[in-house]
């Protein structure tokens, strides 16, 4: 049972266009059975904050490639650096057989990307920042 959490969700780099142009959102996540992790937060954002074009922000379970996530001003990839370093690099031949358009299930490597990061459990007063790198240059 998770208590209600108050987190600050911020969008930058053009991602705010999908949220009515508002960059900072102070949100209160309601109490629920499972603890709040990033995966649940994304579902909540999609349902409650996202105003248009969900495919430009969320892809499958995770954010769209090209969108950076910072949790308390630190890269969310720090949360799974150790696990990624241990995984083996795939062979080029495996790459060729990959249907990149659908979900990348065919690879012998771990399933969808960012599994370690998505499992991070949110704390009260955390700040999560989504920066889109896809726009501008």
């Amino acid at each position: 049972m998770a208590a209600p959490l108050s987190v600050e969700v911020e969008f930058g780099g053009g991602a705010e266009l999908l949220f009515d142009g508002i960059k900072k959102h102070q949100v209160t996540l309601p109490g629920q059975e499972e603890p709040w992790d990033i995966r649940n937060l994304l579902v909540w954002i999609k349902k409650n904050l996202l105003k248009e074009r969900p495919e430009l922000f969320i892809q499958g379970d995770s954010v769209r490639p090209g969108i950076l996530v910072l949790i308390n001003d630190a890269d969310w990839e720090l949360l799974s650096v150790s696990s990624r370093a241990a995984s083996p690099q795939p062979l080029l031949s495996q790459l060729l057989g990959w249907n990149w358009e659908g979900s990348p299930e065919g690879l012998p490597l771990s399933s969808a990307p960012h599994q370690g990061e998505l499992d991070y459990q949110l704390q009260d007063q955390d700040s999560v920042l989504f920066i889109s790198t896809l726009h501008g240059g």
Partner: protein
């Protein structure tokens, strides 16, 4: 760099206890002391200070390694407001303010191109963007220019001519230039002082470019530009056309104000995407110019890409951690779906691949580093070898060869055009037919424009990828006048050359025979 005596218990904001984040106890891979904040490449965690040093070092190393920018040279920074170019401007500013040994020695200016008219933005929206842009430009303290894209309609045709190329400086020339510059500084006693010679020269210079003083562009030009962009059928062609026009405009401004180099903020990720996109667009022959560090196709003005070693992730983190000001300007592909254009598709492909295989972008980048430009035969050859009208790369199409699919395409197009002959002969070509230099007005005019399709005249002078792009424009008459004028001039010149070829003395043969 990281301080040795730093307090290790520096708490990150909002972090109650280390237990929920086991891997943050990992230390920065460089200094092995501070808490890491960002992961670069696969698994290298850097702390804030080490990341900054790494980032700045990459920028300086890219400039220093290539040794193209001589001391005291005027360099124009092309700033679009986006994160990469903002970061580049910031790096240049920081580089200029360092102590004399490491200070950047060139003289920069900044240019911002207002492209709102191409996307159908209203005047209010554009002036709102400009209101955000101008304070940032003024805060840089560099001479700045704001131009609207509509000004392409008043460009002269000379923009499209490759000026004579200056011979590339050898190693010795660069070193000699740096040494003499340092000696000058030393003699003037300004080394390390607060006001170096170039700084003293700047205050009398007007900070504001007179053109940029809030004068809105002519409504007719705005209308013409939005008409042009609305008529383009595909997003791919729109993006390519926008890029071409923007390049010409920046080139013109650089020439007008005496800048010999232009720096653009293309990052590693963007260049990797550009490389793959250009392969799909048919620009494979020009990859080295499009994605390399320096692009000398325009001759006197060289385009330089100092950010090409920085990935978008590093740029975004740096901008966030060190509060680099940037302005969000909507582009032609904002909120476009994934398959809207070749550029979008390639971007989605590469970025998706990157999440699975984090070395994708750097591999493509390293491949682009290995591309070597086909050497031009020397300054004399640049006049004789034809260049594409729009992108100014070598013309790679052999129009006479009807065996190629391309040749078949253009010849069928021409045969369609030539069948209604009575109609074409009565059509008079738009604008003055001949340049004043040519004596035979009547004959030349009729001869050159005989095949009259101005469309075919223009298409002949384009490289393959530009031709494919122009196919998405239903009418080439909407193009800015400087392009049409230059196309006509070149057609005429080619025709005249053809006519008097028999009368020309082949200089090289004669000299070889006599000597």
């Amino acid at each position: 760099m990281c301080q040795v005596g730093e307090d290790y218990g520096e708490p990150a904001p909002g972090e109650p206890s280390p237990a929920p984040r086991p891997s943050r106890e990992q230390k920065c891979v460089k200094c092995k002391e501070a808490q890491p904040v960002v992961v670069i490449r696969a698994g290298d965690a850097f702390c804030r200070d080490c990341f900054k040093a790494f980032y700045v070092h990459k920028f300086r190393a890219m400039l220093g390694k290539n040794r193209l920018i001589f001391p005291g040279e005027k360099v124009l920074l092309a700033w679009s407001g986006g994160p990469s170019s903002s970061s580049m401007v910031w790096q240049v500013l920081e580089g200029l303010s360092q102590d004399s040994a490491k200070r950047l020695r060139f003289v920069p200016g900044v240019i911002f191109v207002d492209e709102g008219a191409a996307f159908g933005k209203s005047l209010e929206e554009r002036s709102k963007t400009l209101a955000e842009v101008k304070p940032i430009l003024q805060a840089t303290g560099l001479p700045w220019h704001v131009v609207a894209l509509e000004e392409v309609f008043s460009l002269p045709p000379s923009v499209l001519r490759c000026s004579a190329q200056e011979p590339a400086g050898s190693e010795g020339a660069y070193k000699a230039a740096v040494d003499s510059f340092l000696q000058q500084q030393h003699v003037l006693g300004a080394g390390g002082g607060p006001g170096p010679t170039q700084g003293k020269e700047q205050p009398p210079q007007p900070r504001l470019d007179p053109q940029s003083l809030a004068r809105p562009p002519a409504a007719a030009q705005t209308e013409a530009l939005s008409q042009l962009f609305c008529s383009v059928r595909t997003l791919t062609a729109k993006e390519e056309l926008l890029q071409t026009l923007r390049t010409h405009l920046i080139l013109h401004m650089a020439r007008a104000h005496g800048y010999s180099k232009v720096m653009t903020g293309d990052s590693c990720t963007r260049l990797a995407i550009k490389l793959m996109t250009n392969l799909a667009l048919g620009r494979g022959a020009f990859l080295a110019w499009d994605t390399g560090f320096s692009d000398e196709r325009h001759g006197d003005v060289v385009v330089v890409r100092p950010m090409r070693d920085h990935t978008l992730k590093e740029v975004a983190f740096y901008n966030r951690l060190f509060s680099v000001p940037s302005v969000f300007t909507p582009a032609v592909d904002t909120k476009a779906p994934e398959k809207a254009s070749i550029h979008r598709l390639m971007e989605a492909f590469l970025l998706r691949l990157q999440t699975q295989f984090p070395s994708t972008v750097s591999t493509v980048y390293r491949t682009s580093e290995k591309l070597v430009k086909a050497p031009r035969d020397g300054p004399a050859a640049s006049d004789s070898s034809p260049c594409c009208l729009l992108c100014m790369c070598a013309l790679d199409v052999d129009a006479a060869d009807s065996a190629t699919a391309f040749g078949a395409q253009t010849s069928s197009h021409l045969s369609q055009m030539q069948s209604p002959t009575p109609l074409t002969e009565t059509r008079t070509p738009p604008g003055p037919c001949c340049s004043p230099g040519v004596g035979r007005v009547q004959g030349c005019g009729q001869g050159a424009c005989r095949r009259e399709d101005p469309q075919a005249c223009i298409e002949e002078q384009l490289c393959y990828s530009c031709r494919v792009n122009m196919k998405d424009l239903p009418s080439l008459d909407l193009l800015p006048p400087y392009i049409l004028a230059e196309a006509q001039l070149r057609t005429q010149r080619a025709w005249v050359l053809q006519e008097i070829r028999d009368c020309l003395i082949e200089d090289s043969d004669d000299e070889a025979g006599q000597s």
